[in-house]
C-alpha cells in the first residue's frame, strides 16, 4: 500500500433522498470501522441535492454544498462521484458522464441509467481508466452484483431469476393474505408511500425489468439490452387467480427470468406461478430474492431487503469500501469492449402453463375447450372445474410443458368456441 492509498477517499454525493441520507449516516456512524476495513479514512467532502433547505435528519454542515450535480462531478475536492439522484436522462446522466471524463470513479444506485446507458457508460469509464460500481442498483442490500461478477466468475451461468421489486411483491402477498382486490391494495401501497411517483415503474414491471437487464449483461457477458426484455406488470393479476393458484399449490410472483438459449437471450419480467413451497414462493412482503444457476455451483439463492434507507445505503457502502481498498473491477464482470451483442429471443423455452377460464352452462362445453387445447398440441396435467355459481363455471387447467406459441394460439382460439365467458387468463409456471 502506497502513501497515497492511506489518504482519505473523498466522496461527493449527488442526491440526498432516503438513500443519500442513509449513506451519510453510515459514514458518520462507522468512521472507525470503515477506516479499519478500507485501510484509509472515508470522507464526504461535498454534496448536492435539489433542495438545500430540506430537513434530512443528518448534519451536512461540514460538507461543501455544490451548486449542482455537474459542478460536483467535476470538483477537485472529490475522488468518487456518488450518484443517488435517479432518472435515466438529464442531470444524472450528464453528471455521471462528466465525472468519468473528469477522472472520477462513479458509484450509482441508478438502475434506469444503467439499463438504458450502461454499455456506453462502461466504455466511457474504461476509456478514462475509471470504474463504475452499482451494487445498490439491483435488489437493494442483497449482494447480487458482487456475487455474479466475482463469486460466480468460475461458472457459466445458466439462468438468473429474481423477485426484484418489493412493492409488487408486497401488493401480491397482501392481496392473498387479506383477500383484497388489486385496486384496493394498490391504493394502500400508494398511501404507504411504497410506490414511485410514476407507479407504472413499479407495477408495470419496468423497474424490475431494468434490474433484470443489468443481471443479464453480467450473467451472459452480453451488451445491456433493456429494450429486449419482455415486460408485463402485475395489473392484470386478480385475487381470483391468486386464490386459484394457491388451490393448485402455487404463488404468483412478478418474476424476472433471463436465460441463454440456442435461439438467443430470453429476458422476461412477468407474473408467473411458482411452487408455494419453493424459496421464491415463500417470499413475503417487500423482501427481494435472486436465484442464480451456474454450471459448477448449482443454484445459489440470495434473499434480503430490496429497498429502504439502510439496505440500499449498505450496498452503496460496499462499493465505497471496494474503491477505497484500491480494487478496480470491470463494470459488468468483464471489459465492456469484450461484451458480445446478444441475439434477443422472445420466450420460447417450454413451460407448464396455468389457464383459467369461465365455461358457459352449455352441454359439451368442456369437451370443446379440451379439443382446442389438444389441437394446439397442449396436453393437460391437471384440471379443476368448480360449480356454476353465477351461471358460469370457473375452470382451472395446469398444462404439461408446452411452448408459449402453442398457448398463445389456444388462448386466441378459445373464445371462438362460443362456450367461454369473458377472456381466458394464462400465466406461465416457472420451474424454480
Amino acid at each position: 500500500m502506497t502513501a497515497a492509498d492511506t489518504q482519505p477517499l473523498r466522496l461527493g454525493i449527488a442526491g440526498l433522498g432516503t438513500v443519500g441520507a442513509g449513506v451519510v449516516k453510515i459514514i458518520q456512524r462507522h468512521a472507525d470501522l470503515l477506516a479499519a476495513r478500507s485501510g484509509r479514512p472515508i470522507a464526504i467532502t461535498a454534496v448536492t441535492a435539489r433542495d438545500k433547505l430540506k430537513n434530512r435528519d443528518v448534519d451536512l454542515s461540514s460538507y461543501h454544498w455544490a451548486a449542482d450535480p455537474l459542478a460536483l462531478a467535476q470538483s477537485d475536492e472529490i475522488d468518487v462521484f456518488v450518484e443517488l439522484m435517479g432518472g435515466h436522462e438529464g442531470a444524472a446522466r450528464e453528471a455521471t458522464e462528466a465525472a468519468l471524463r473528469a477522472g472520477k470513479d462513479v458509484i450509482t444506485a441508478n438502475k434506469a441509467l444503467l439499463a438504458h446507458h450502461g454499455h456506453e457508460l462502461a466504455r466511457l469509464a474504461e476509456d478514462n481508466g475509471r470504474v463504475i460500481r452499482f451494487e445498490a442498483a439491483v435488489a437493494g442490500g442483497i449482494p447480487v452484483i458482487k456475487t455474479m461478477t466475482e463469486s460466480l466468475a468460475g461458472n457459466a451461468i445458466r439462468r438468473v431469476m429474481g423477485v426484484m421489486n418489493g412493492t409488487c411483491n408486497y401488493i401480491l402477498t397482501r392481496m392473498e393474505s387479506a383477500g383484497l382486490p388489486y385496486e384496493t391494495v394498490f391504493e394502500e401501497a400508494r398511501q404507504l408511500g411504497y410506490l414511485e411517483a410514476d407507479p407504472t415503474l413499479d407495477v408495470g414491471g419496468i423497474d424490475a425489468g431494468h434490474k433484470l437487464a443489468i443481471l443479464s449483461a453480467i450473467a451472459f457477458g452480453t451488451e445491456m439490452n433493456f429494450d429486449a426484455v419482455e415486460i408485463e406488470g402485475i395489473e392484470r393479476v386478480s385475487i381470483d387467480d391468486i386464490n386459484r393458484a394457491a388451490d393448485m399449490g402455487y404463488k404468483i410472483k412478478l418474476l424476472g427470468v433471463a436465460q441463454m438459449t440456442a435461439r438467443g437471450l430470453e429476458q422476461r419480467m412477468s407474473p408467473c406461478l411458482v411452487p408455494a413451497d419453493s424459496p421464491l414462493g415463500q417470499l413475503q412482503g417487500g423482501t427481494n430474492m435472486v436465484v442464480v444457476e451456474g454450471d459448477a455451483v448449482g443454484q445459489i439463492v440470495l434473499r434480503g431487503a430490496g429497498a429502504g434507507e439502510g439496505p440500499t445505503a449498505s450496498a452503496v457502502m460496499s462499493d465505497v469500501v471496494e474503491i477505497a481498498r484500491g480494487v478496480r473491477l470491470p463494470t459488468f464482470g468483464q471489459p465492456a469492449s469484450g461484451l458480445a451483442r446478444a441475439q434477443a429471443a422472445r420466450t420460447a423455452v417450454p413451460a407448464a402453463y396455468y389457464i383459467r377460464l369461465h365455461l358457459a352452462d352449455k352441454p359439451g362445453a368442456l369437451a370443446k375447450v379440451a379439443s382446442v387445447l389438444g389441437d394446439a398440441g397442449i396436453s393437460i396435467d391437471r384440471m379443476r372445474q368448480y360449480g356454476h355459481g353465477d351461471g358460469t363455471a370457473p375452470v382451472l387447467i395446469v398444462t404439461h410443458k408446452t411452448t408459449p406459441e402453442a398457448v398463445d394460439h389456444a388462448i386466441a382460439e378459445l373464445p371462438k368456441t362460443g362456450v367461454i365467458v369473458g377472456e381466458p387468463v394464462e400465466l406461465r409456471i416457472e420451474e424454480v
Copy 2:
C-alpha cells in the same frame, strides 16, 4: 493494467481429491471465459497429491507433478499456491507457510487450518505482502466470505448464523422424513460417503464449528478463537425430539450462532429449534444457509450447496479470478494486526427453550415439575402432556425467554423430584 498483469496467473494445486479435480475441470472447460473475466489467462502449471497414479477423470499430463506440497509451494513455476489437501497440521500447514514465505499468494479450502492457525497465517501473509483467500472454506459454493468481508463492509454485524454442515442437515431432515432413528440414518450417511473419515468432525459439530469461528472473526473484527466455540453435535438428537418439535411448529437444526454481547463474544454450534416456516427451518438435505444481520442491511440470507465438487471448486475459482484481477484484500476483512482479541463469553443471551421429559405416573407429578421451573425463574409459554403409554407420560414444555443458566439449573434439579423417568432433554429455541 500493466503488461505483467496480462501474463497468465500460474497456479500450483496441492491436493487432487474431489475439490482439486473440480478446479482443474473448470479451468480446462472455461479457459476463455476465465481469461475474459480475469483480464488474463489462468494457467495450472504444477500439481501434487498423495497418489500420482490414481485415476481422477481429468487430464493432468500437461502439468508438472511436484514431488511434494512443500516443493510445490516454493516452486518458481507458480504465483499462487492452491491448498486443497485438508488437515490443520502437517503438510497443509507447512506448505501454506512455506508458500507465503516464498512470496506466493495462497488459496485454501481448509477450514480446520484457518480455524486453528488463521490469525498467524494472516499475519505471515501480511508480513510477506501476500494474500490468503478462502471462500471455499465456509459453506461451499455460497459466497459468504466475500459477502461478509466486502458486501457488508458498511455494517456493524449484529449476529451471524448458519447451517454449515450438509451431512448433519441431511441426517436431521432424513430422520424426520423417514421417521428413522439417528443410528440408522448415520449408517446410511456413512455408506453414501457423506461422512468424513473421522465422522466426529461432522456429527460432533467440529467442522461446522471451524466455519463459525472463521465467520466470527470477520463479523466482529476479532482474532480467530475456535477454542471458545461452544460445540455440541447432533448425536443426542432423537427422532422423538424431531417429532415433538414438529408438533410445536419447529425444526431441529445444527445451527451456529455468533454474536457480540456486553459480556463478550458468544459462539455456539449446537442443535437448536427454529420455526418450521423460517428460511432456516425450511432447509432440506445437504443444502447450507448463512444468515447475517447487519445494522444497515438488516437480514441477508444466503443459500446453496455447502459441499461437493462443483460448488466448492466454484468458490476456489472466485478466489483465483480475484487474484488474477489484481485484487488484494485483507484476510479477514481488515489487517490481522488490527484485529482485537475478543473476550470469549459463554452463552448468556436469553432464549426460549424446549424441554422434554417423561413423568412417572404419580399424583402431583406435573405440579412438582412446574414448581422446579418456577423456582428457577422459568415461566412456561406452552406445555403438552401426552398419554401414559408405557407407564410414563411424555411432557413437552416451551418456556418463555430465560437464561441458559436458569435452564441448566432446572435440568439438574428435575431428577431430584423423583417424578421424572430418565434424563430431561433441553434444546435452545433460536430466534431467527
